[in-house]
Amino acid sequence: MEQLINANIRITPFQVSVNGRTEYQAENFITFAEFIKPFFKSLNLGYPKFYKMDSLSKLGFMAAELMLRQIDLTRYDNNRVGVVLSNSSSSLDTDLAHQQSIQDRSQYFPSPSVFVYTLPNIMIGEISIRHRLKGENAMLISERFDSRLLFTYVNNLFREKKVDVCLTGWVELLNEQFDAFLMAVEPSTATFSGETSGALPFSPETMDELYKTT
């Protein structure tokens, strides 16, 4: 059975698009924190834990939040919803913040809430907690967005019948530079529940094309 990309989300400085359509835009050049907070508030989620997350998790969380509004998760078993993400800098942005807090031996106060984010798969954990996802997940590291790597991994999950739907893509953040590109991959039998242009074949070529044009 073939899979389809039924929705895609892109978050770049400082624009958010859903299926290629701009959904949110910041007018002036601002920091990531100044960008993500009003964007989060605009969704009225009432989820205070968001403020405690590190920047990478906030970025992935928001991308997933928009994505999971595009597909009807209720038709799936939570144990069979996969999340496979990738990036280049892993959790380096937070690793550096943690390292800075232990740099000075006389002011040695590492923050536990910073330390817990010094692994990139914590981002997947935050998304999974929020949406109660308990399926297969993986955080892959590659130098740049690698459609073939993601395709191979996700395609295998479907082929091995480990997932019924999979959220996959790229969530990169380091030193105020950030880029998130998520796709929802569903079997071709699933009815598209989004508003806009329909599904696209799940292939490295389609992923590259979407990544270039969104």
Binding site: Y51, K52, S111, P112, S113
Partner: protein
């Protein structure tokens, strides 16, 4: 004591990133954990760091934490008592 309580409320908000919560929203005697502010185990560790960093107080026995961090008032009482010592 009242001055310390107000200071502590501000510090807790800042240290724990309690967005959209002001010092007035925190009841001095209400439990910090559980229903109230929705704090978790990582927040408990952050409060231990707060006491050490801002007041030079190290909690030697983790079992004392439950009593010390019950509320803002119990934290203030612990600080007052141990800073004098």
């Amino acid at each position: 004591m009242e001055e310390l309580i107000e200071k502590l409320k501000k510090e807790v908000i800042e240290q724990l990133n309690l967005e959209d919560i002001s010092p007035e929203d925190i009841d001095t005697d209400s439990p910090l954990f559980g229903e109230g502010l929705g704090l978790d185990s990582i927040d408990a560790l952050e409060l231990i760091v707060l006491l050490e960093k801002n007041y030079g107080l190290k909690i030697e026995d983790p079992k004392d934490g439950k009593k010390i961090f019950h509320s803002i008032r119990t934290m203030a009482e612990y600080i007052t008592e141990h800073q004098k010592a």
